[in-house]
Assembly symmetry: C2
Homo-oligomer: 228 residues x 2
DNA sequence: CGCTGCGTTGAGCTTCTTCAACGATCGTGG
DNA sequence: CCACGATCGTTGAAGAAGCTCAACGCAGCG
């Protein structure tokens, strides 16, 4: 599988013609990252953006004391740091590989050059950024309106829905990372998982979690009910 | 002042040529809203987006119990609901006029038509969306990493910096609305303002707030210090 | 004048975090 | 191959932050 095939799989570049792909392939650079390696840090100059070819990447912010809030977890086909390309500003957050990852890097100036000649590429970017904005909207809502059990319930239901409503879901990230993604800490997450088990809403064994009572999880996610 | 002049003031449309403006003026529709009037509700079909000509608009989410989280407060020249245009999805939040407002409305299909012929318009939209994404990044950081005093301090410093670092700032929205914007409730906001007064960090009289100790506010905003 | 919305204050309570300790797992080097 | 260390997950106890509920003053406005 060559670079063009990989690119065609990303929503960002879907539906472009072969000439477009050739041009993209012409400016792309490849980077290999090991688990735990920094891709860039908040404040670094925004020299371009990335698309995950393989692996897993987290985008996150750190507080003064070092507490982490994950903004995104990104897998194959997903772009990140596009914002830096268009604002011309520095990266607004940190990026780290969660596992061995292969990345495509698109330098800012060359990419903008492509964009200007290419309305459909621009439309794709607009759609992608819009979707991301919508995700952030949900995230802000969750962080400010819901309690942690509600956020966790929403996350589990989301995972399930992404898997044909599977009864059992597998966490693709460590529980510590999940805690950060949900805006809390590992201890709290652990306690809430225990309580959900006690209530028979779920049955969790390590990274595998079975959803036993969807209705109850729904109620938690909508804030309609509290976790006993 | 005609429509074209108004449009040219919005960052969204800055730097376009006169032909572009004429086309935009050709598809725009004008709407007048009274204070408290709904512009659209979450879940409504995303038929187009708006630019504020005059007045003030809030974009917000509601929890099950009716608690509100404001996502944005928008004034003249600022666009909103662009996301719906590109995702083709329903509006992801509610919009309400905070005061008597005059709005420009751009219907989805006509606007997309313009975009496709017009790379510089697309580039402007990309830059605008990216900036908004960056703001959301900050907001998520604030909501999850900072305590309420820190968020308030950051907000006051932001207001001041938008006014040539004025020593005294005036809140353009009601304190209840500010509470929602900061992800808290009026009672908590009120108590924190009182504490900041006691510490002589600020001096507040109604909507006018003087910043007496910028260093202390900075420390709060960065999470470096706690409010006594 | 009375109503309504906004802001403030107090008391009690819930949720979450902090701090500390401990068990399990896993990869690595001896 | 085993032992060790590191990371991760879990549990307990105590404390802090913010929320709920309730009451009240105040201003603007019909």
């Amino acid at each position: 599988m060559n670079i063009t095939d990989y690119l065609a799989e990303s929503p960002l570049f879907k539906g472009l013609n072969s000439e477009n792909y050739k041009e993209l392939a012409g400016i792309v650079m490849e980077r290999d990252m090991k688990r735990g390696q920094f891709i860039f840090n908040e404040g670094d100059e925004g020299v371009g953006f990335y698309v995950v070819a393989s692996g897993l990447v987290k985008i996150y912010k750190l507080s003064f004391e070092g507490k982490e809030q994950i903004l995104h977890i990104l897998g194959p086909g997903e772009p990140f740091a596009e914002v830096a390309v268009f604002t011309g500003m520095n990266y607004p957050a940190n990026a780290m590989a969660l596992e061995q990852s292969h990345l495509f890097f698109f330098p800012r100036t060359s990419f903008i050059h492509l964009l200007k000649k290419n309305p459909s590429l621009a439309m794709n970017m607009l759609a992608t950024l819009s979707l991301r904005l919508k995700q952030f909207t949900h995230m802000i809502e969750a962080l400010s309106l819901k309690e942690v059990p509600g956020r966790l319930a929403a996350y589990l239901l989301l995972l399930s829905s992404q898997n044909n409503d599977a009864a059992t879901v597998k966490l693709s990230i460590a529980k510590t990372q999940l805690a950060s993604l949900l805006g809390t800490i590992p201890e709290t997450l652990s306690r809430i998982l225990t309580r959900m088990n006690n209530q028979q809403y779920i049955e969790s064994k390590g990274a595998d979690i079975s959803l036993l009572n969807r209705q109850a999880l729904d109620d938690l996610a909508s804030g309609e009910k509290r976790l006993e």
